[in-house]
Amino acid sequence: MDINDFIKKVEDEYEDITPGTLKPDSIFRDVFEWNSINALILIALVKTEYDVTIDANDIQNSKTINDLFEIIKSRS
């Protein structure tokens, strides 16, 4: 499991993100407008690609892309 793959998947999923701009230490709430629909898109992506369930608390407790990736890694 590779964080660069994860970043690429996230960039593909969100129109607002210019490909190549997302880094492991990017704070995702700063990268695009954080709202409930974008949260659902993220949850769906993680479930579909990694078969891992993340919830509102996980997103709340994560700041960077890497924080999220660590949660996914620990559950897969």
């Binding site: 409930s36 629909i37 949260a39 898109i41 949850i43 769906a44 479930k47 369930t53 509102a56």
Partner: protein
Amino acid sequence: MAIFSTQNVTIKGISACVPKQEVWNIDYNWIPKKDRASIIKNVGVESRRFAPRGVTTSDLCFEAAEQLIKSLNWDKNDIELLIFVSQSRDYMVPSTSGILQDRLGLSHNCMSFDIGMGCSGWVYAMSAATSIMQVSGIKKALLLVGDISTINVSYRDKSTYPLFGDAGTATALTFDDNAKPIHYNLQSDGSGYDAIIMPHSGVRNFISKKSFEYKKYENGIHRNMFHLTLNGIQVFNFALREVVPNIKKTLKYIDKTTDDIDFFVFHQANKLINDTLRKLLKLEPEKTPSTLQHFGNTSSASIPLTIVDKLQNEVSTKNVCILANGFGVGLSWGSVVFELDNISCPDLIEY
């Protein structure tokens, strides 16, 4: 586990009725244009039907039932079971089923009752109707299923207002010695009862003046205690956690694979949920018809409405095997597997 099969009962026809008035989410000026576009793209709802004030679910179901009875050429005296499934009944007291029994001109020998369920309601009512018919030998039954949801949501709540549409449906069942069995897998989890709730809609928190005071919960989310509240992320995770295992267990129970099923008709919750379920089950998009785009989430009507609007030609000209799954408010969810063999499926009615 509530996994079982019923014998000797088959679906003979399905009809649906929606209000004429169409409301477009592109015009939803409570939120910025960019947010409207995001809702249309991700939630998948471009427009939905709105019943005028005073028009009830039973009005829509009545139209659907009349049309279906006519197309089947049924004698109304033969209908001995009527189940009305809704969360928007005509009255708290009495039940709406009796009103429909009388209005449709059915005989006094017809048993009728309400089931107060939403997203999973059609699947649950099918299990009740087919079980009663198998035991009693009742020859003909009607399931009248739907909701007027638009009346319960706050215009100033972007988390619910753009999502719901109104619809009423009728499903006709007959006793038939040669019918293929119908299979069920029904589940519930009331610990999530408040994920989708109208807090002041019953006896627990009885309605008062205070019920109608608006409160701001988040940006773009203002509502009162009589309005529907919906915890999107909670419902989303519930659906992702429960629906796929339920379907897999159902298929295992009947010794079939997804390839043996012609169509998977899901409750139309929202596009993100439904697309994710489809991907997790590795199903082709053609196998999962959807009515979200122009009808939105129609609560318990979503499964029969989707069959009428998207599969009319298939179900009325050949024999198709369908797995339907309803999931949501309650929390409640379930699958039903059944065949539709050249059924009566009249055109969608606009009321």
